[in-house]
Amino acid sequence: MAQLNMVKALNLAMREGLAEDENVIIMGEDVGQDEGVFRVTEKLLAEFGPDRVIDTPLAEGAIVGTAVGLALYGMKPVCEMQFSGFAYQAYHQIEGHVSRFRNRTRGRFGMPIVVRMPFGGGIRAIEHHSESREALYAHNPGLKMVICSTPRNARALLLESIRHPDPVIFFEPKALYRAFKEEVPDEPETMKIGKAHVTRAGEDITLVSYGAMMRPVLEAADDLADEDGVSAEVVDLLTVSPMDTETIAASVSKTGRCVVVHEGPRTCGVGAEVVARLVESCFYHLEAPIRRITGYDVHFPYFAREQAFLPGADRIKRAVRETLVC
């Protein structure tokens, strides 16, 4: 067991993926010599050589589009988008081909591609470097949309994603890259895609979230226990799509109340989907309206204003308190 931060944990998963399957390759802008702008691909070029860890020219569409061709030829490309804000340049390849090939060819050609991208705010970055648009991929049939939240699940989910036969959009909460360390098993560990995780058990209310927002959510849950004697259950979606309705519905059926938290814009976001599923699956257990604490439907502000903008524990606590008195 090693204490790793998320960057090292993700790096470990890629090293394992490269080592266990010669068809796995890492490709993207600055992932080789530079070891990634966040150093997530550290030492991989040195260890596996330039045929496995590949610096590409600056064109996201071709990174993903080339990966489609590589996957057709039996490779398993792990692509990096330097920031999720530049994945739109590749969106037509993701929507048009990555997500469709297996279905289109009636199973003849799968797309075992991972598209990794750092997302979310909080690191004082310039415009286009702080957005959270997981909903775009969740809305797109044929993709799995995975978001890690701790070093251990980052490693386990990324390794699973690399092994996965279908395309995975893998969002990395960059605010957590070096935020804390966690014990990560030495032996390859994976977690199933499509399973949410009850991070904290509770009785009075369910908090649903994922990614970097798990931190203020857990902080809020602790505070609520201390300050209000409220027992909040916290569910980390981990896979945003396909969503683990069962786990969130089981929790909310028990607690009767729910607040869902994410950074991305509210309208048609993952929060809306959580609410809709809860209404469909446990309407009669709901004792109060479900609140969404999310990014507002505006552009993520430049970094001088970002801390004020990002949902924090205080906002979550207030929503919980308001929900509890309903």
Binding site: H92, N103, R104
Partner: protein, 365 residues
């Protein structure tokens, strides 16, 4: 010295072997044997007759909108004729001739235009991708496939098709950029049929040729008479041989003409003159090659009739196979999306099931 000329790619050439009057340039004649020549003829004719049959089927409502290929047969057959089955073909959406030669069943080709995913279920043993609808989006796939071949140490090639219109899309640029940098055994065929729906080649880009784009990527480019199957054959095979030998990518612009409408939903009279079409009718690649073969004594009326009858039989059984397979299950949209169907989709599939049961929906057309 300070204001100096920069030398760039003076290698760009135009290649024609069999001219519009069916005269061959002996110095360039690839001297193919009689069987090969006849086969090229047979394949171009198959493409032509298949195309005509598709148009008829469309008019009869037996398939949907169709994108005809009349006039472009030499590009299709000349480029794919010598490919191995371990090579890969990445089609655009107007390559029925290529598909046929690569072994796609006629029924399968019909299925795409009939509205069936089955038409994209690439038959086992065929290393091709199915029709790609978003223009030029398939070109990075060519590059990826070719690069995979190189990584695996194979001497195979990947060949991809795009139209003149498609050369304006960013995907074209990015695919060729990558192909050059990674020196991939990729061959990009631009079927310059002069039109992108109603948009003429001259307004697609201001450059005089599309082949000259190659220079910007540091790769070889050549422009060929796309209505001369021998020129297409020779240029492509040079590119293939070079790629197999590790010589990297090539861009081939095949200059041809779309004699018919863009698709059956299109009315070309709105945007082009009959006179232009008539001019190109005279350059029909089949007429030219037919005349050459007859002059050479490779083809005569009797053989031609036999070939036509053969083709008609093939088409007939293809259409029959297509029509026999029209009864499909709409619920299989859930079946192939992922390797394993996730729980939430199991629930949605059940919902769909129930809906269909209630609605008593007729399946197929």
């Amino acid at each position: 010295m300070p204001r100096k000329k920069i030398k760039v790619s003076d290698k760009l050439e135009y290649l024609q072997i069999l001219d519009e009057k069916a005269r061959i340039d002996e110095s360039l004649d690839p001297e193919l044997d009689g069987d090969t020549l006849l086969n090229l003829h047979r394949l171009m004719l198959t493409t032509r007759l298949l195309d005509e049959r598709m148009l008829a089927l469309q008019r009869q409502g037996r398939i949907g909108t169709y994108a005809p290929v009349r006039g472009q047969e030499a590009v299709q057959i000349g480029t794919c004729y010598t490919l191995r089955s371990s090579d890969w073909v990445v089609q655009s959406f107007r390559e029925p001739g290529v598909c046929f030669h690569r072994g796609w069943p006629i029924g399968s080709i019909l299925q795409f235009w009939g509205g069936y995913e089955e038409g994209c279920a690439v038959p086992e043993g065929i290393n091709d991708t199915p029709i790609a609808v978003p223009v030029a989006s398939q070109l990075p796939h060519v590059m990826g496939l070719a690069w995979g071949m190189k990584m695996k140490g194979k001497d195979d090639v990947a060949i991809g098709y795009v139209g003149d219109g498609g050369t304006s899309e960013g995907d074209f640029h990015e695919a060729l950029t990558f192909a050059g940098v990674f020196d991939a055994p990729a061959i990009f065929i631009v079927t310059n049929n002069q039109w992108a729906i109603s948009h003429p080649r001259s307004r697609q880009v201001r450059a005089a040729t599309l082949a000259q784009k190659a220079s910007g990527y540091g790769i070889d480019g050549i422009q060929v008479d796309g209505n001369d199957v021998l020129a297409v054959y020779v240029a492509t095979n040079e590119a293939i041989d070079k790629a197999r030998a590790g010589g990297g990518p090539t861009l081939i612009e095949a200059v041809t003409y779309r004699l018919a409408m863009h698709t059956t939903a299109d009315d070309p009279k709105k945007y082009r003159d009959d006179a232009e079409v008539a001019k190109w009718e005279k350059r029909d690649p089949l007429i030219r090659f037919d005349a050459y073969l007859r002059a050479k004594g490779v083809l005569d009326d009797k053989m031609d009739e036999e070939i036509r009858n053969d083709i008609k039989a093939t088409l007939k059984s293809g259409v029959e196979a297509y029509e026999a397979a029209r009864d499909v299950d709409p619920r299989d949209c859930f079946k192939y999306l992922y390797e394993d169907i996730p729980a939430e989709l199991v629930a949605q599939a059940a919902e769909f099931d129930e809906a269909l049961r209630h609605e008593g929906v007729t399946i197929g057309h």
